[in-house]
Each structure stands twice: as C-alpha cells, then as structure tokens.
C-alpha cells in the first residue's frame, strides 16, 4: 500500500531530476551561454539567463526538485549568484554517488535480499555518506581552502589596506560576471555601464555601505525605457523619481526641499473623534480655518525658501494650489522605498506640518542642486540633484531596450553584480578542524587496532579500487571520461572479489559508518587515554610540517601577515591572511581563518581545477572510505569547467586545459588562463558549502510520501479562513 503513495527518495531519483535541470541550465552558462524565454501567467515575456529565475519559472512538481529549488533560492538570497553552477555541481556529485551505488548494487544482486530490505539498507548507507559529507564540509573543506588554495588567490584591490579598486581590475571582474548573465552582444556594454556607475557613485572614502545601499534600493535607482536600442542606456547624475510633478514651478538658485508623510491640510475631523456641527456658520468657519491654516503653512514654507515638497501621500487640491501660488513644486504619492532612499542619501527627517507654525525656522529642510522634469521617451519623471551626506553619490541608470523583458534581465544582472560586490568586500570566515595534519592516518589506524573489528579487510579492498583512480586522473593525458571507464573496470574487478567472499556484502553498509564515527571515536578514545596519548601527540605535532606548537589547553594565536604577495595587472598588492589558532583539545585543533575581502581567481574553471587538485591530494592522505567521498567531491568540481569548455576545440579543449593546469600545479608554475576576467572566491566558497548542504539534505531523505488531500476539505478550510 505504501509503495503506491510513496517513492523512494533515492540518489537515482534525485539524479534524474537534476540531470533535467542541468540540461536546461547548462545552456545558459558562461560566455557561450544562450538566452531562455520565460512567460508569466500574466502574459509577460521575460528573457533570462539567470539560473534562479529559470528554476522558479519552471514551477517544478517533483518534491526533490522543489527541495533543490528551495536550496538554490536560499543560496541566492545570500549571495545572488551561482544558481546555474549549483545545479551543475549537484548533478555531478549525484552522478558520482550514483556510480558507486551501481557498483554496489551489482554486488548485492547476487544476494537474496528482499527489495525492501535493500532499500532500507541503502538509505542507512546514504545517511552515513551524508554525515561524512557534512563532516567534510564543516571540518575539512575550509581547511583546504585556507591551507592550499589561498596561495593562488589574487586580490582585486590595488591597495589592500584601504580596499580601493582600480578600474581595470573591476572591469575584468564585471565583464566575467556579465558574460554569464546578459546576451552576448550586450555584456561588454552593460559591464562598462556598471563600471561607470560604480566609479560615479563612489568616492575614495566609500566602503561597503555604498553596496548595501545600492543593493537595497536598486529598484529605485534605475529607470527602464522600452523602445530604444540597448546602446542608449546611460547614467545620469542625481535621482530620478518615477513620478511626475503634481505642480512644477521652475526655480533658480537655492532649492530647498522638505519631505512630508501626511497631508498638509488639517483634517476636518480626526479619526476616532466626533465633530458636532450645530450651525452652518460653524461649518463655514471650520472650512475657513482649514483653508487659512493650509495657506499659512505653505506661506511659511515659502518664507523658509522651500521650493520643493516631496510627499508620500496624496495631497488635497488646496495644498497643491497654494504650493503653486507660493512657487513650490510638489511631487506626490512617493513610495515608502523612495522616501527611505532619499532619507538615506541626505539624512533628512520628515517635516511635521502641524508643528511647523510654532517654530519660526524649519530645521528639516535640505538643499537640492536641481529639480526639474526629465522626459524619457514621452514619459515625464522628476529629476532631483540631491546633495549626498553619505558616501554614496546619487546617480541613476537609465536602462533602454527594445522590450521590457530584456530591460528586466539587465536590471537583474546589474542588481546581482552589486550583490556580488557586496559579498566580495566582506571577509569570509573559514572554520575547520585539523587533526594536526598527517596524524589522522595514524589516529585511524589506532582506532582500528583498538576496536579490533575486521574492518581492515573491506577497507583494504576498497582501497584497491579507489587508489588507482586519482593516479589515473593525473597520468591519463587524454580525457576524463576514460578514467571513469578505468574506474568501472576496477569496480568490475572488485565485484569478482565480492563474489568470492560471501560475508563481505553485509559489512559494506557498515563501511561508511566506521569512517564517520571515526572522528568521534578518536576524540573519545583519545580523551580516555589522554595520559598515554599526549606524549605521542606532541611528537606528532612537532614533526608536522606547519609546525604549530601546541601545549595542553593553552590558546595560541599566530598571525601571518602578508603571507602572500599577489600581482594584479601590474600593480603589486599585498594580501594579508590572518590565522587564529585555538587549541581546544589534545587531538583536534579548531582553526578559524578567513578568506580576506577582495579575493579573486581568474575565470574559466580555475577555482574548480585548483580545488579538485588539492582535494585529490588530500584524499590520498585520507582514510580509505573518506577518500571515496572526497574524490567524488573533487571530480564533481570538474563538471563546471567541462561545461565552460564544451564548445572549444583543439588546444583550448577541456582535457588539454586540464592537463596544462595540473602540470603547472605539480611543477609549482603559475597557471596560464586563456580567458581574461576574474571571479570572486567568496561566492565560490559559499556555493560549494550550499551545494554540499543541499546534497546532505537529499541523502537523508529515505522516502517521499505523497499526501493527497481531498479538494472539498481544502475548500472548507479555506472558507473558514475567510470567516
């Protein structure tokens, strides 16, 4: 019964789903990516290369797919980038895991285990793998980033201390960013536009607060104009409000403005009160009083040289008339976002009309450089020259395009670019656990001895399957696909082994638990036998290559200033990497460090190849079953450069590029990238973490149960809500 409503939440199912998504998403990746046309139920047409938007537009039904989309969108909320890479990477990870299942399924086939039993067993196994992934992500990944990858990082800043950007490096960064986001004939133009905008809006003193402001208020900072070619897009100084003047009075010289959030005309009766009229004269008097009061307030504003009134509410005819009489321009019905943006820029608080007359001078006015109507394709806007009191110099982007859908795409891309810059200007914290480097092997050996189980046999066997793999990757000078076939060949070999030893299949599911428990057990065992171990550990620590000195529970902080010298576009930049070492116990040291703000790497899969290389190196040193997980992660990373180099042939093709890069790494030479352009490391790190978290989530699900509710019931609930 259950089987009719429930589907196994297996890797296979997840893989099928992600493969479909990958097919769609991979056609939009990179400089060769193409556009996707989405329609909305309202009939609106949207052009997009934005992964998040595409996934959203698909309205997926499959529960696993929905979960993946949720993961992607929560990642996007954080970073605004990387949805497509997310899917590709996830797909490759699942493929890697799937190939293991296939292998093990074959081995299980010969057993007479019931299907259900096998399913549950698989699920347990996935759960352990997912725990291994989590451990890797929380304890190992950041360490690799910090200890190996960081030496390749470049800094975008021309001067790291002051976080200043030079135009050429920003151009490289933005061009690479827009390559993947807007149509290929527009990306150069849009990245130039963004570059101009950036330098026009910021001063040398501006910091990350500018990005925050632009990111938060981007909708208010751009104006879309349809019917004009994209090349007519431009930047204009000042702020453009998407409203027309209710009354415009040209003014010269000093323009002072006030912001109001309520009607200036006093209300006839306040809310919650009762106004008792006893005679007609009383009504007329009160009307007269209202009129006179309004007139007086407007006169007062005029006497204070106020010539512009911005209002978040609609003002009555009377107010507008007296504004006109007194030469005050009025803009009404501004949205709360527009008001808050203006307030953020000039730091002006709203003016309270009723208190105005009691004060002889209105304190909350602000000077404006200019204030005039702006006509863009026969629509009128209000153009304000605000004098900024913060580090943001107000400028607006006028985005032109033949259709609204294209303008929207450009707007999204520009907004995303600011999100990306905002992330780039922040340090990314890295936290990881190190078992004083190479000692992990010995520690695990120790565990094996201690537990006294027969794990060694399957481990050794597993090792024989897995170990040749990384070697082949490096040695094989042709294609990665080939290595995969090699792998299959090896796994076939393994099967024959399995067939011989009948007791092994039962121990296979336990294989992984052994790894994941290992660390915990290491801790426990070590703390139990602390006295005996300390000596050993100190010896190990002393011999370790990084030579951290640890003693008992003492806290030690080591700061490495200027660990690396990097070079960007001819200008030297120093990249400080600070280490904070905190020794918690005897066996594991919890380290925290950070990817400093402004870290970048050349585009074209550099990050992925580097991480792939170091992960494989790390995997060699790992305990055998951990090695499986790490090498799956490492190999999945190559999925992204493979897509990027799909269209290239000859010397630029992926295998050639890969071999060159690995060779360069082995010989400690700099990697030569064929493409100019930079990408943010922070974004990539966050992406990797998000993907691994998503995969962990997928693996922990063992069953998807479809709940069918009767429509009537939903209906009745609904009507109750209405009541």
């Amino acid at each position: 019964m259950l089987s009719s409503m429930a589907a196994a939440g297996s890797v296979t199912a997840a893989l099928q789903v992600t493969e479909v998504l990958e097919a769609i998403v991979s056609c939009c990746v990179g400089p060769e990516g193409r556009q996707v046309l989405c329609t909305k139920p309202t009939g609106e047409v949207l052009l997009s290369r934005n992964g998040g938007r595409l996934l959203e537009a698909l309205h997926l039904e499959h529960p696993i797919a929905r979960m993946i989309v949720d993961c992607v969108s929560s990642h996007l909320k954080k970073t605004g980038d990387g949805a497509k890479t997310f899917i590709i990477y996830l797909c490759h990870l699942l493929r890697g895991l799937h190939s293991i299942t296939e292998k093990e399924k074959d081995s299980l086939m010969c057993e007479n285990i019931q299907t259900y039993g096998r399913h549950w067993k698989n699920c347990c196994q996935w759960k352990f793998i997912s725990q291994a992934l989590l451990t890797f992500q929380t304890q190992v990944l950041d360490g690799i980033m910090d200890q190996y990858l960081s030496r390749h990082f470049l800094s975008i800043f021309s001067s790291a201390k002051e976080k200043t950007l030079c135009r050429s490096s920003l151009e490289l960064l933005l061009e690479a960013y827009f390559c993947g986001r807007v149509g290929r004939n527009n990306h150069k133009f849009i990245s130039q536009l963004m570059c101009d905008y950036f330098f026009k809006c910021t001063t040398c003193k501006s910091g990350t607060d500018v990005f925050e402001l632009v990111d938060d208020c981007f909708v208010e900072l751009n104006v879309g104009v349809t019917g004009l070619p994209v090349s007519d897009s431009r930047i204009i100084a000042g702020l453009v409000l998407q409203k027309d003047f209710s009354r415009y009075c040209p003014a010269d010289g000093d323009i002072r403005m006030v912001i109001v959030t309520e009607t200036i005309q006093p209300l006839f009766s306040a809310s919650g009160s009762e106004f008792i009229l006893n005679s007609e004269a009383q009504f007329q008097t009160s009307q007269f009083w209202i009129m006179e009061k309004t007139k007086a307030i407007m006169k007062h504003l005029c006497s204070q040289n106020v010539t512009l009134l911005l209002s978040s509410v609609r003002q009555p005819d009377l107010v507008i008339y007296y504004a006109g009489v007194n030469g005050i321009s009025v803009v009404e019905c501004l949205s709360s976002e527009e008001i808050s943006l203006i307030q953020r820029i000039i730091g002006l608080s709203p003016f309270v009309p009723l208190h105005a007359l009691s004060q002889c001078e209105i304190s909350n006015t602000a000077l404006v450089k200019f204030c005039k109507p702006l006509i863009l394709r026969s629509r009128r806007y209000v153009h304000l020259g605000l004098i900024s009191t913060c580090t943001f110099i107000p400028h607006c982007i006028v985005l032109c395009g033949p259709v609204q859908g294209l303008i929207k795409q450009h707007e999204d891309a520009l907004h995303g670019a600011f999100k990306m810059l905002r992330q780039l200007f922040k340090d990314l914290d890295l936290n990881y656990v190190t078992q004083a480097n190479d000692q992990s092997d010995t520690a695990s050996l120790f565990i094996c001895k201690n537990s006294g189980e027969s794990y060694k046999v399957p481990d050794a066997r597993n090792g024989s399957i897995q170990k040749p793999y990384p070697d082949t990757v490096i040695e094989n000078k042709d294609e990665l696909e080939k290595t995969q076939t090699y792998l299959k060949a090896y796994s076939n070999l393994a099967i024959s082994d399995v067939e011989l030893e009948t007791y092994i299949p039962y121990s296979i599911p336990k294989l992984t638990p052994a790894d994941t428990f290992q660390t915990d057990e290491t801790l426990r065992c070590l703390s139990l036998e602390k006295n005996r171990l300390i000596g050993d550990y100190e010896a190990l620590l002393k011999s370790s290559s990084t030579a951290y000195s640890t003693r008992g529970n003492n806290r030690i902080e080591i700061c490495y200033e200027n660990l690396q010298v990097t070079n960007i576009t001819g200008k030297g930049g120093l990249l400080p990497v600070s280490f904070k070492l905190q020794n918690m116990g005897t066996s594991q040291s919890y380290l925290s460090s950070s990817v400093p703000a402004g870290c970048v790497l050349p585009v074209g899969g550099n990050f992925e190849i580097l991480l792939h290389y170091y992960l494989l190196n790390y995997a060699k040193k790992c305990h055998q079953s951990e090695e499986t997980v790490v090498s799956i992660i490492a190999n999945a990373l190559l999925g992204i450069p493979k897509v990027l180099y799909k269209s290239k042939t000859g010397k630029d093709s992926f295998p050639h590029m890969y071999i060159r890069a690995v060779h360069a790494l082995q010989t400690n030479e700099p990697i030569v990238s064929s493409q100019a352009g930079l990408e943010s490391v922070t974004g990539k790190c966050q992406l990797l973490t998000s993907v691994l978290q998503c995969l962990t989530k997928i693996l922990t699900i063992d069953l998807v149960i479809t709940v069918k509710r009767h429509p009537q019931k939903v209906h009745s609930q609904d009507s109750e809500d209405e009541l």
Binding site: T39, H59, E61, N185, G227, P229, F283, V325, P402, D718
Partner: protein, 570 residues
C-alpha cells in the same frame, strides 16, 4: 474549485526556432506585415468575432495593438516593434519585416548563434556609422527655411498609409495642414531650450477631408443649447480667465477620518452653496470674464456668474487642463476661497464656431503654442487611421527638428545600404573582422543574409507582381510594372527611382534586385544640386529609421539566441 490549487508545472521547449510551429507562426506574421507595407500595401480589417469595432488599417501601430499573439517568440517580436513605434511613430512595418527576414535568412544558414550575433552586430554598426557619416549617399539635410522638404516628408508618410483613403488633392491639403499645425507649436521667440507646444486633434467625422482645418488656440465642444446661453462679450482688451481644477458642484469635500454629527436643521449643502456664491462674488469683483472648470459647476453658481456677464464653462475634462494652463497662463485653482490674484490668466478672445454639426467655443490665445487640428474624414475607420497618421507625421517633424536630416525613401535607402554593405564586406573584410574569431566565409554568409533581408524589405513594396531593379551607379530602387514587355529598352520603362531623385534619362545600367551581381561601390556624397532640383521626393525620418534598424537587428539577435522557452501555463 479551491483557490489553493497547486501551480501547474511550466512547459519547457528546447531550441524553439527549429520547431515547425514557430516557423509557421513567424511566416504568417511576416506575410501579414509585408502585405501591408508601402503605398500600395493591402489593408487589413481587424474585428472581434462577436461584433463591435472594426478597424481597417495597414499601419503597424494599429495592426499590432489589435492583433493578439500567443507564442512567446512572437510576443517578443511584436512587443519590440510596438515599443519602437510608440517612441518614434514611424518605420514600424520596416522593423517588423526586417526582423522576420533576418531570422528567416540566418536560420537557413545554420551557423552558431555566437558568430551570427557577433557579425550581425558588426554589420549593424557599419550601417549606423555610414548613415550618420558625412559621406552617406542616401541622406539629405532638412532645410527649415523652406517648406519643400518638410512637405515631402509629411506627404511620404500620408501616402504610405493607404487606409486613410485620401485623394491626391486631399493628401496635399492634409500635408499642408499638418505642417502648419507643427509650425504653430514652435514658440516664436525661443532662445536656447525650446519647449514645443501641443497640437490637439479634434474629431469631425463624416465631413469631407477638404473641410479639415487648423486653428490656433483651443476648441471646446458644447451642445448648441449651452452655446445659446453664452452671452457675446464685447471687450477690446484680453479676457481674464480663472481655471478651476477642483469641483464647484457643492459637494461636501472630505470631512476627515472622524465622524461628523449634525444638529437638527443644519444643512451642509446650504453652507457649501453659500461658500460657492461667495466665491462667485470674489470672481466678479476680480473682473474675471471666463470661468473654466475641469469638473462640474453648481447651476446656481453658473447662473450667478452668467448674471454678472461671466462666461462659465464646466466639464472640461483632465486632458484639456494642461494645454489650457499653458495657453492661458493660469494657475489651476484648487480652493473655494481666497484666490490669489496672480493665479488668473488671460485669452485674447472667445468666440463660438460651428464646424459640421458640432458647436465649439474657440479660445483664441494671445501668443501661445497650442493649436487645434480639426480633422475630417468620411467614416470612423478612415478617420482613426488618418488621426494616427497625423500624429505620426507631427511626431516625425518633431524628431526631424532635433536631427535635421532625412533619408531617401521609396526603398532607395535600403538598396543603397545593401550595396554599400556588400561592397564593404567584399573588399575590406579584415576591417570588420578585426579581433574576432569569426572567419571570412562566415562573414560573407551573414552579410549576404543581412543584405538580402534589407532588400526583401523593399521587395515587399511591390504588391502587384511588378519587378524591382536596382541601378549599378547609385544603388537606388526602380520598379517596373507587372505586364510590361520584356525585351524593351529599360529607360523607356523606368521613369524614376523609388525616392524620385534620379530619372532614367541618365546613362545607367540596371539589374534585377534578386539576381546575383558583382558588388559595386554605390555613389556616396549626395550633391546638393541634385536634391535642389527635385520637388517631389519620397523621404523617411532618419531618427526613426536608424532606431528601427537597430531594434530589428537587436530583436533578431535576441530571438536567434534563444535556447529554451519556458511557458507558464497557470
């Protein structure tokens, strides 16, 4: 059913352009637009199956706004054409046809979208820079000191819209009116920044086109009963005008958020009426001669004003408010009391006028840039078309004022441009390819697709089975009638090129447009004598055509770049 239905999954199609359905819908759209193109274009009748309004048109703006397209790709195409038309009013069909042709031609080649888009962009910039350059052979300067070229420009627009059903004389009449209306909107003594006035089009359906006329000032329509009540004013000086934007009907205005409790016997209506009459007294004592109100004036107030020889006109509507403010120089009044004296304006004179069966009050300005174009045509459909055409022509004149150049029309610009591009890509491909990864073969293929797309646009000017030729010197277009004998001397058959600049007396050699011929250098640098000697040229607006060209290529690029279409079926 419940409102909480789950969203249906979207439809996702890969490589949309290869699907048969898309190709057919695209070709249907293309047939619709090509058959409308040009002075001899066929008309389309658009109507709702369940009755109602029928639109007869051959204009892109009317056609596309009535057409409901469902396929997302077509939506992109029509939306970009419509957006272009709403900003430039002209060259809509040109844009649509060129875009369709480009997509069709490039599709046939089967090159990768990357190189197609890159090369298309290169060719486009080549066209743009040529059309903007001094050496351009299909561009003439517009001289605002004489009406000749301006009239040609307007006439070309009128003749390209056959659904207006104008005779030759009518065309001349309307062209002159449009030009006069345009000139009236230009302020007389403008320095530096010019702000153009407005031309209001007043409908007068069922009259002869010849009865159309242009008047300075504003016409306000009125029933003859109302008109009778208006007293003739005899006054030598200008009339003082008060313009109200608030209602004068005696409604109780906003009483706030609280409750108002009335004692027995208190009538707020009377109180407000008292207020209104006080206002009337103030107006009279301020010597106001004309009271205009956007909304309704209370009959008592109206009567009061009439008694004091003040003309009161109400229900003017929001559309006339801005021109009225501008023309009279008033401050729209939003108060029922204490009117500041500087918010009054003035008009030179007020008179009544009768055109056809309609009565109007005519406000004559002192000096202003507002004029009214009384437009007559025989029936509703033709009038609507004529109105759109007039608006387009006025807009084109404004654009020309900004950029005083015109392009040769009648298809000559397109053939000339195609000849230029062919010559450029053939003789100097390196300069176009510069730093690209595209090959020369790719360039030749794309250039051929691009040029033939341009040429098929002008090919669709011919709807009666005639032939289209091009000359090998200027690269202009020449058309031959359908049933002409084949083996005769070309100069006898051809009288004039498409734009009317050259005639066949010159020693020229011709070839069929669709036949393959060697690339040649079309003669650049138009001589002024040649232009001056011809009185009847067909001209196009430069700004509109440039933008149309860009929009067409950009949209085609966009559509060619599509790899998936995701359709939301909710």
């Amino acid at each position: 059913m419940s409102r909480l239905d789950a969203k249906k999954p979207s439809l996702c199609k890969s490589e949309p352009l290869t699907s048969e359905r898309v190709r057919t819908t695209l070709s249907v759209l293309k047939r619709i637009v090509t058959s409308c193109y040009g002075p001899s274009g066929r008309l389309k009748q658009l109507h709702n199956g369940s009755g109602g309004y029928v639109c007869t048109t051959s204009q892109s703006s009317a056609l596309l706004s009535h057409l409901s397209v469902t396929h997302p790709i077509l939506k992109i195409l029509t939306a970009s054409v419509q957006n272009h038309v709403s900003s430039f009013s002209d060259c809509g069909l040109f844009t649509a046809i060129l875009c369709c042709n480009l997509i069709e031609n490039v599709q046939r080649l089967g090159l990768t979208p990357t190189s197609v888009i890159r090369l298309n962009t290169h060719l486009l910039s080549l066209c743009i820079s040529y059309l903007k350059s001094e050496t351009c052979g299909c561009r003439i300067p517009v001289d605002f000191s004489s009406t000749q070229i301006l009239l040609c420009l307007v006439r070309s627009i009128l003749t390209s819209k056959p659904a207006c059903t104008l005779t030759r004389a009518e065309t001349e009449h309307i062209s002159a009116l449009i030009l006069r209306a345009f000139l009236l909107t230009i302020p007389e003594n403008a320095e530096g920044h010019i702000i153009l006035g407005k031309c209001l089009i007043v409908p007068l359906k069922g009259q002869r086109v010849i009865d159309s006329t242009v008047l300075p000032g504003i016409l306000i329509e009125m029933s003859d009963v109302q008109l009778m009540r208006l007293l003739p004013i005899k006054k030598s000086a200008a009339l003082k005008v008060a313009l109200f934007c608030t209602t004068l009907s005696g409604d109780i205005s906003d009483t706030g958020e609280g409750t108002v409790v009335l004692s027995y016997g208190v009538s707020l209506e009377n109180a407000v009426l008292d207020q209104l009459l006080n206002l009337g007294r103030q107006l009279v004592s301020d010597h106001v001669d004309l009271v205009l109100c956007q909304k309704v004036i209370h009959p008592s107030l109206k009567q009061f004003l009439n008694m004091h020889r003040v003309i009161a006109i109400d229900r003017i509507g929001v559309t006339l408010m801005e021109p009225l403010t501008k023309m009279t120089g008033t401050q729209p009044i939003g108060s029922l009391g204490s009117i500041s004296p500087n918010s009054y304006g003035s008009v030179k004179d007020v008179c009544t006028a009768k055109f056809g069966s309609k009565h109007f009050v005519h406000l004559i300005p002192n000096e202003a840039t507002i004029c009214s174009l009384l437009l007559c045509n025989r029936n509703d459909a033709a009038w609507d078309e004529l109105k759109l055409t007039c608006q387009a022509a006025l807009h084109v004149l404004q654009l020309t004022l900004k950029e005083p150049w015109a392009l040769l029309g009648g298809g000559c610009t397109e053939t000339h441009l195609a000849a230029y591009i062919r010559h450029k890509t053939h003789n100097n491909p390196e300069s176009i390819l510069k730093d690209d990864e595209c090959t020369q073969t790719e360039l030749q293929l794309i250039a051929e697709a691009f040029c033939s797309a341009l040429e098929s646009v002008v090919g669709s000017l011919e709807h009666d089975g005639g032939e289209i030729l091009t000359d090998m010197k200027y690269g202009h277009l020449w058309s031959v009638q359908a049933d002409s004998p084949c083996l005769v001397n070309w100069p006898d058959l051809l009288s004039q090129c498409g734009c009317g600049l050259y005639n066949s007396r010159e020693e020229l050699s011709w070839s069929f447009l669709r036949s393959t011929h060697h690339p040649f250098v079309p003669q650049t640098c138009l001589s002024h004598e040649a232009v001056g000697s011809v009185s009847n040229l067909t001209l196009d607006c430069l700004t509109a055509k440039l933008s149309g060209l860009q929009v067409a290529v950009e949209t085609a690029n966009l559509i060619l770049d599509l790899s998936y279409v995701i359709e939301d079926t909710n």
